[in-house]
């Protein structure tokens, strides 16, 4: 029975999914072994976990490798954009307005005479930062709130469920327009904060469901019978076994947050100039779409590729982590 999620011993190597989980995993194994016979073993003679199985699948999945490569490249250029683009994205020369490709500007120039290539490269930083920070925030807040509600149940749980219902009833783009239209700050943080504020119910529902499922397992009963405290059961036994669906949904959501940032910037309430963002560039280029479509197509292409990479990564991770699809 190599696929049972609560027997993860060889899980640790290379999953990169976080330390707390691995600790919890080995704890679960010791408890499992006490009453039963010999543990199930994989072909290598060691029990294989969901995580090591998933990692084996992922390593052989070309879709995963390709999207991971694209994402690594994006992270690289958001950390060191000057490595592949010379000049500043804010130095523009009106004389070159809407010009085609030239030396040092393979993508041409936009309406303000800015170098489209430089701006496209520098725009990656905003998207990657917003995407990663928003996902991290949403995943943390959502899984803590949803997990606690699922574990303890009762009033807090029904209250939280009603609260998520309320948040689901508000259209996201609309909420963004209302909340962000009065923000004058020029950083990514209001956008990230808004996404965390409106995004957590999605993860909280998933986490709640996963915790309720994990709660009913025998090993949780066993741990409780041995006198483990609530926090110990939650962190060491339930969390490692409930985290997979959260990771899957969060990875896919990352791509949608990047698209949402661009949409909000396009509507003029996300990031604002002089920040460099693909959404801002697309919005600025759309009035000149007739004469200078290249100023719109390059940032739009970069945006689409980024979102695609994250969604494909999420798809690959889901295929690897969802035992039903095996």
């Amino acid at each position: 029975m190599p696929e049972q999620p609560h027997q993860p011993e060889g899980a640790i190597a290379g999953t990169g999914m976080g330390g707390a989980m691995d600790l919890g995993a080995s704890e679960a194994v010791t408890l499992e072994r006490a009453p039963g016979g010999p543990p199930g073993t994989g072909p290598a003679g060691r029990p294989r976990s969901l995580w090591s199985d998933a990692w084996r699948d992922l390593r052989r999945n070309p879709v995963f490798l390709l999207s991971a490569l694209v994402i690594l490249f994006l992270v690289f250029i958001s950390l060191w954009p000057s490595a592949i683009a010379s000049g500043s994205p804010l130095t523009c020369d009106l004389a070159k307005s809407q010009d085609g490709p030239g030396p040092g500007a393979p993508f041409g120039y936009d309406g303000q005479g800015c170098n489209v290539y430089t701006r496209t490269v520098y725009g990656a930083r905003a998207s990657v930062t917003v995407g990663l920070c928003a996902t991290l925030g949403v995943a943390l807040l959502g899984s803590v709130l949803g997990g606690l509600a699922g574990y303890f149940g009762g009033t807090w749980d029904s209250l939280l469920s009603r609260l998520t219902d309320i948040f689901f009833a508000i259209p996201v783009v609309l909420g963004g327009l209302v909340l962000l239209s009065v923000v004058t700050s020029n950083t990514v943080w209001p956008v990230v904060g808004f996404m965390v504020l409106l995004g957590w119910p999605q993860i909280s529902r998933i986490a709640r469901g996963a915790v309720i499922t994990a709660k009913q397992n025998d090993y949780v009963q066993a741990a409780r019978a041995l006198g483990a405290s609530d926090s110990r059961i939650l962190l060491r036994h339930i969390a490692p076994n409930a985290v997979a669906p959260v990771i899957v949904v969060a990875t896919i959501a990352l791509g949608t947050y990047i698209a949402l940032e661009a949409t909000l910037s396009y509507l003029g309430v996300g990031l604002k100039p002089p920040s460099v963002s693909w959404g801002i560039d697309i919005s600025a280029a759309s009035p000149y779409i007739r004469n200078a479509p290249h100023a719109l197509l390059w940032p739009a292409g970069a945006l689409a590729l980024t979102v695609l990479a994250f969604i494909m990564l999420g798809d690959a991770v889901r295929d690897a982590l969802d035992p039903k699809l095996r």
């Binding site: 259209p171 996201v172 783009v173 327009l177 209302v178 009065v182 923000v183 509507l267 945006l303 979102v307």
Partner: protein
């Protein structure tokens, strides 16, 4: 059935109050409602005080909310920045957006479900991989990019359509509707595909084939009907998202619908317009969800509402 509907309607009340209160707070706390009335300059203090008194803004927020909701239930949504009653704006804006949403949902059902059935039945074949890849690409390209691209190609380069919508008639809304539907369309395709592929192996399908029913009947009556439940859920929750998300599509194609009015209301910080429109959108979302739950019983006879 009747008791179930009543219970669901009662459950909708706290969600409705919560959502409208949230929007009300967002609009009021974040912006200064009076500032928008004085145009670009700051209001002089006496005018501001007079206006605040006139609109009841000097009262505590919860009292404002109660007064506002009380008026809403008598059909008075207040006045917009230009002195027009908000209900008048709604009367012109909602029909356009409803048409746009209907076009979008039509595309979702017709194209999405068809592609989903075709790929679900041929899982792993070239058609399947091709459509799957196409849906991934469509999901990845944000709506405003799809819209701008189609506007550039169909409206400006090839001149098949007019790049901006003038009257909001159905034929003008075909391309905007497709743009609005695009991302959801891809999700519907993938959802139907997974659902069909899962149910294809179920016992009742095997039984239906074994008792000699024609393929077409097995697919439409047995397989599709049972596979549609998650799809119906998705489309139901999507109605609210589509009407709210129409803000982007309406901006690209210059459609004067709900999104346009909301955008104007937000830019001019007109509380009455924004809260009014959002209130109606929240209601639409809740009612659509209720209808979806009732549709379950029609699709799956195992589900009964006592």
């Amino acid at each position: 059935m009747g008791r179930y509907v009543v219970r669901r309607l009662l459950q909708m009340i706290p969600v409705f109050i919560g959502a409208t209160l949230l929007i009300f707070l967002m609009v009021n706390v974040m912006g200064d409602p009076v500032a928008g009335l004085c145009g670009e300059r700051a209001c002089d203090p006496a005018t501001a005080a007079q206006l605040e008194k006139e609109f009841g803004l000097d009262k505590p927020l919860w009292q404002q909310y109660l007064t506002y909701m009380g008026k809403v239930f008598t059909g008075d949504f207040g006045t917009a920045f230009n002195g027009q009653p908000v209900t008048e704006l709604m009367a012109t804006a909602f029909p356009v957006t409803v048409r746009l949403t209907v076009v979008a949902i039509f595309f979702e059902i017709v194209i999405g479900v068809t592609l989903g059935v075709v790929t679900g039945l041929r899982r792993g074949r070239p058609v399947d991989s091709g459509v799957l890849l196409a849906t991934l690409v469509v999901i990845s390209v944000p709506t405003f990019v799809t819209g701008l691209l189609l506007q550039l190609l169909l409206g400006i380069r090839w001149q098949w359509i007019s790049p901006s919508v003038r009257y909001g008639t159905l034929d003008e809304l075909i391309v905007p509707g497709l743009v609005l539907a695009s991302v959801s369309l891809a999700y519907v395709t993938r959802l139907t595909r997974t659902s069909i592929a899962e149910n294809k192996r179920s016992d009742y399908v095997r039984t239906a084939i074994a008792k000699g029913l024609p393929r077409r009947r097995v697919t439409t009556r047995h397989l599709l009907r049972n596979s549609l439940i998650p799809v119906v859920t998705f489309i139901g929750t999507d109605i609210g998202a589509l009407m709210g998300g129409a803000i982007v599509t309406e901006r690209i194609f210059n459609i004067h619908g709900v999104g346009y009015q909301l955008y104007q209301g937000i830019l001019r910080q007109n509380t009455q317009t924004v809260v009014g429109f959002v209130t109606v959108l929240v209601l639409v979302f809740l009612v659509a969800n209720l209808l979806v739950d009732l549709l379950y019983a029609v699709l799956d006879p195992r589900i009964r509402y006592a």
